[in-house]
């Protein structure tokens, strides 16, 4: 996508991207792409403030999770630091009927779905398998295997079409999250093929955070990732992933196209992973400090805060209140994580079959008897 209208600075990738809020906090009214699509947002002051609250909150929760891992309370944590705008912007663009397929890093999207942020912590603490009910929250389980969720999402989206739930403003749509590294996976490319051919109501939301663990983007692609969509026959668009407004606008438009039967869209949210790939990774081994600093200047929260201040939409009292409530939410999350009960051994039989099985039931009985043979047994 060539993109003429947005303010293009030195920090903008070659080929441009949709940007409605510059790193300096300047609002761009609207952006019209070379294909003639115009993107803009029309938020009330309250809505702007709530977006800011979302961003700060998900970052604060993420910081707490990282600390908990370092303190030995989580086995591993995949931080979203730096990707808050891409997640909150796209997550808030979803309508209640839309279905999201996350990777293991979409804590921000999870939060915007109105889900208790503690939900994925059982997985990272190792006290459950992360097996929540995807239908309850319209939010699939976290997927560790890179890219596999795009196929699940494609199947789900094709199902929506078969159910006749597209074709109007209240239609359903699917969003599949993945990263830049996943675009090299076979599954992701298969899902592009199937979605394109079957015109599935799906938005492929690629958070291009520049690194697949330690592999830089130039090891994944020779062309901007959003242009991959050309080869599969659906539109691709690149958005400033550190701009919550543009991310919202582009995702909302793509989802609406999907729900109205216009087929898939690939969104490349151009962003940066400020932290490590996961808590087991040391990014200083493959990134230089100056690169990280250059992205700090493009921080998604800072630019919205500058905008709110300049426009007098929010003042220091508001910002302090947001920080305080985010902190107390984080501290209560900490306490609840520490209080998570260890799983009882017998629960391993619980989800083997939906309606039980005589064999598994017999095994459970034997297992219970075995454990009862120990003193202090409590299962």
């Amino acid at each position: 996508m060539a993109n003429g209208e947005s303010e293009v600075g030195a920090d903008v990738p070659a080929g441009g991207f949709v940007q409605l809020l510059t790193p300096d906090g300047e609002r761009v009214d609207s952006v019209t792409t070379a294909e003639g699509t115009t993107y803009t947002v029309d938020f009330s002051d309250d809505e702007y403030r709530e977006l800011y609250r979302d961003l700060v909150t998900v970052r604060r929760l993420d910081t707490e999770a990282t600390a908990l891992q370092r303190q030995g309370e989580l086995g591993i944590w995949a931080s979203l630091l730096g990707q808050e705008a891409a997640q909150v912007g796209s997550g808030r663009a979803l309508r209640p009927q839309d279905m999201a397929f996350p990777t293991y890093r979409e804590h921000g999207v999870l939060y915007t779905r109105g889900i208790d942020p503690i939900m994925p912590f059982g997985l990272f603490r190792g006290v459950d398998q992360g097996g929540w009910d995807p239908n309850e929250f319209k939010f699939n389980t976290y997927t560790i295997v890179i890219g596999s969720q795009t196929l699940h999402a494609t199947g789900y989206a094709m199902g929506i079409t078969m159910d006749g739930k597209t074709g109007g403003p209240d239609g359903e749509a699917v969003i599949a999250y993945f990263g830049d590294g996943a675009t090299s996976q076979g599954e992701v490319n298969e899902s592009f093929v199937w979605s394109g051919v079957f015109h599935a109501p799906i938005v492929f939301f690629c958070q291009n955070n520049q690194y697949a663990i330690s592999e830089p983007l130039e090891r994944q692609t020779r062309i901007p990732l959003h242009r991959r969509a050309d080869g599969y026959g659906f539109p691709g668009v690149r958005v400033d992933g550190n701009d919550v407004l543009a991310t919202f606008a582009v995702t909302r438009a793509a989802l609406d196209n999907a729900r109205q039967g216009q087929g898939p869209t690939l969104i490349e949210a151009y962003t940066y992973r400020m932290g490590a790939h996961t808590s087991s990774d040391d990014p200083t081994r493959y990134r230089i400090a100056s690169e990280v600093e250059s992205w700090q200047a493009k921080d998604p929260i800072l630019r919205l805060r500058t905008f709110l201040t300049k426009q007098q939409i929010a003042d220091d009292t508001f910002f302090a209140d947001v920080d305080d409530s985010a902190k107390s939410l984080a501290l209560s999350l900490r306490e609840r994580v520490l209080a998570m009960p260890d799983p009882q051994p017998v629960t391993l039989f619980d989800n083997a079959y939906p309606n039980g099985s005589p064999e598994v039931d017999a095994q459970r009985e034997q297992f219970v008897a075995y454990h009862a043979a120990f003193e202090g047994s409590d299962h």
């Binding site: 910081t63 600390a67 370092r70 030995g72 309370e73 501290l331 009862a372 120990f374 003193e375």
Partner: protein
């Protein structure tokens, strides 16, 4: 709950067992906040800052920067209620590490019993599978006692079960008659036990197993094999005409065996080969022999090979090093003590020429000559065999092409010199008969990468192909 809390080094990255304290960001007496960075720790995966788990005052720092600490060991103690007056020993919270916490990594990761399972078991890649928190345990798991089981009379922990003891049955053992074997009944035994029985010529069906569900254990098989009369059941092997001789393993043979085993199973060996045309080396040797200063010294191709190796070591000093597992260091030696493997009546010995790198060719030649003569006469003093840093074995004198030598313990490379034979060889575009030999270089792959080993071997080969040219180019 004690008000002074010890913070134990957690497993920071999925199965790590230790971490090195890089720097403390706090000191004793500091008041710290929750999540304030307190220490920087480097693990095998990453250098990370650990945030404080509790707010309070630092009362003790257990390890200085630079210390490697096992996962689960306390690293810092924090008084979480500093305003409440001095902590009294009556709290049972003295910041001394408890004996238990120093003795072992037995620190409960959380309240609640750790259930038996795969956690703590081996995982692929040699790591230890852990769930979360404090990494693998190095101590025998404590099991809850069986209901109604007799308690140990003292507080002493039950002796760890011998390695080959039968594991606890997974299920309560059902009542069953004392297994009269049905015809065609296949005895229960694990595959390794079956193999052992086969190897020892024991019929499993004739053994009454003492293992779970009447299965046959390793001990059962060994007992059966040792039983009198049982040996007769072993299918007789082919009789060896003339019987056999038994030679007690001692002295040089014993030392050699121990060294070879220790080396072969500690240092990952890689061996590379290089076939080179040494015609010009032999011509150079002839020239040297004609010189007056070499008149009364025995010289052989080994001399030039030794010289080549010494010069190549100067260009690749890492080859002349040793792996110090105890201190986690690679020790690169400035001095080359050149070992020469010598076959003697007593067996293989590898005396070395001290600081051979400093010797000129004449002195090197006489040192070699003397070393070999002393070895043959069996008079090599122990000091001459200690402290070698690089060795050469001249298997060529036995008429073989080359070998894959095993490193003398503590050395990182050893060169085998094969027989030098007239061989058809492409020389200046034509097939000529040239004097050709094959070099074999074994190196410790922990220290020497394939690239370094290859360059080193190549340099030796280059020298032997064109000694004058190499000398001019390198020195």
């Amino acid at each position: 709950m004690s008000r002074i809390k010890e913070f134990n080094l957690p497993d920071l990255g999925e199965g790590l067992t230790e971490g090195e304290i890089l720097s403390w960001l706090i000191k004793v007496g500091d008041t710290i906040e929750l999540n304030q960075p307190i220490v920087e720790v480097e693990t095998a995966k990453a250098a990370v800052e650990i945030p404080a788990k509790w707010a309070g005052v630092v009362t003790r720092i257990y390890h200085d920067a630079g210390t490697t600490v096992e996962v689960g060991m306390p690293i810092v103690a924090i008084d979480t209620e500093p305003g409440a007056g001095p902590a009294s020993p009556a709290d049972g919270a003295a910041p001394e590490p408890s004996a238990a916490s120093l003795a072992a990594v037995e620190v409960a990761p959380a309240e609640g019993a750790v259930e038996p399972g795969l956690i703590g078991g081996p995982a692929p890649g040699g790591r230890t599978a852990v769930l979360v928190g404090y990494g693998p345990r190095n101590v025998t798991a404590k099991r809850r006692p069986r209901v109604g089981a007799a308690r140990p009379t003292s507080a002493a922990p039950a002796a760890p079960a011998p390695e080959e003891a039968t594991p606890d049955p997974v299920l309560p053992e059902p009542e069953r008659p004392a297994s009269p074997r049905m015809p065609g009944h296949r005895a229960l035994a694990k595959p390794p036990v079956r193999k052992m029985a086969r190897d020892l010529g024991v019929d499993l069906a004739e053994i009454s197993g003492t293992g779970p569900l009447g299965s046959v254990t390793r001990d059962d098989v060994q007992r059966a094999a040792a039983a009198p009369g049982k040996t007769a059941a072993v299918a007789p092997g082919p009789t060896i005409a003339g019987g056999e001789r038994r030679i007690p393993v001692k002295g040089v043979r014993k030392l050699t065996a121990e060294n070879m085993v220790a080396s072969a199973f500690t240092a990952p060996h890689v061996t590379e080969f290089l076939t080179v045309d040494v015609t010009r080396s032999l011509k150079a040797l002839d020239k040297i022999k004609g010189r007056p200063e070499f008149r009364d010294v025995r010289i052989s191709p080994l001399l030039l090979v030794a010289k080549a190796a010494l010069l190549a070591i100067r260009r690749h000093p890492m080859v002349n090093s040793t792996w110090s597992g105890a201190t986690n260091e690679i020790v690169v030696k400035d001095v080359v003590n050149l070992g020469i493997a010598a076959a003697t009546e007593r067996g293989l010995i590898v005396p070395n020429i001290k600081d051979a790198g400093r010797l000129g060719l004449r002195d090197l030649a006489s040192a070699l000559d003397e070393l070999v003569r002393t070895a043959k006469s069996g008079k090599t003093p122990p000091a001459a065999m200690a402290g070698g840093t690089f060795s050469i074995t001249n298997v060529g004198v036995f008429g073989v092409d080359t070998g894959t030598p095993i490193l003398p313990p503590g050395e990182s490379a050893i060169l085998a010199l094969g027989a030098i034979r007239p061989t058809p060889w492409v020389h200046k575009g034509k097939i000529k008969v040239r004097q050709v030999t094959t070099l074999g270089l074994s190196f410790d792959h922990r220290i020497v990468d394939g690239e370094l080993g290859s360059r080193f071997l190549r340099d030796i080969g280059d020298f032997l192909t064109d000694p004058e040219g190499a000398l001019l180019a390198w020195t």
